[in-house]
Symmetry: C2
Subunit: 165 residues, 2 copies
């Protein structure tokens, strides 16, 4: 991994940027998952994003993907020096995208509400750090159980809803 101005002591602060994106999405009626991309050698926040399934009628704009799209096209070396921060364990689409661009570090706020492609990432040599953040876990868990969450969450993770009686 490139030499880093970002240390584990900074992870919670950077995660707040991703969390703010999640709350922004929630306020828009969207799925509350946010992401931030940070340039490790400088600590600069390169891009932010949030799930846009509802807002943009999108199948691919998960938080991490939205963040990469907001970044705009970059040359092939840039993402090798960046870490992806995300409020939820990244699904297999987002995990694989991180490996395509050889992002070396993925920091997630929690995986209690959804366990994504963490083993896949580790198998590809990506460092994965779980902050196990209580506040973000509660926010996401409450949303999944809410009326809005019941309508859209399974769709977002590719699962078929089982109607409750």
């Amino acid at each position: 991994m490139a030499s880093s101005a970002v240390t584990p002591a900074d992870y919670h602060k950077i995660m707040r940027v991703a969390y703010d994106q999640a709350i922004k999405s929630l306020s828009e009626g969207g799925i509350p998952i946010g992401a931030a991309l940070v340039h490790l050698p400088t600590g600069k926040i390169m891009a932010k994003g949030h799930n846009n399934r509802v807002q943009m009628s999108s199948n691919i704009r998960h938080g991490e993907m939205d963040c990469l799209e907001n970044l705009g096209r970059v040359s092939e070396g840039v993402l090798r020096e960046c870490a992806m921060f995300t409020t939820l364990s990244p699904c297999i689409m987002c995990s694989a995208t991180c490996t395509l661009y050889k992002i070396p570090l993925v920091v997630l706020a929690e995986n209690r509400n959804f366990l994504g492609g963490e083993d896949f990432l580790k198998g590809k040599g990506v460092q994965v750090v779980n902050l196990d953040d209580e506040e973000i876990t509660k926010m996401m868990g409450d949303w999944i159980k809410s009326e809005a969450g019941q309508k859209v969450w399974n769709e977002d993770i590719g699962e078929v809803s089982i109607p409750t009686q």
Copy 2:
């Protein structure tokens, strides 16, 4: 897999829809990779797309992802009945996205110019068919060797270019 109105005899015809998208992208100065999504029970072309890295300054709009984005948001069961046709072996991002949505069949025109996540797809139970199409292989190979291809191809697949002498 769902019962299908689409048989292997139809694959080359459907691939022309994806190829036309590749040629459209080429005519726009973009990367010539195209995709089409077909609904297996009815044979309906649900969406088309092409690589938009250059045109949209995008890191995530590979042909298959662009196709899924052009489809617009769909409920979680729809993609389980669709096949993804793509002019080139799908990279790990696009392959993983197909598995997220449990797309049961991926048909590719060729993998001589790039070998993507075919083993990953097969490991997840996705049927993978390679048409080994000579015309599309030549088109893509010629483009990779072209001046435009030398500038952007490695960026698209996450590889660092090695400057030629």
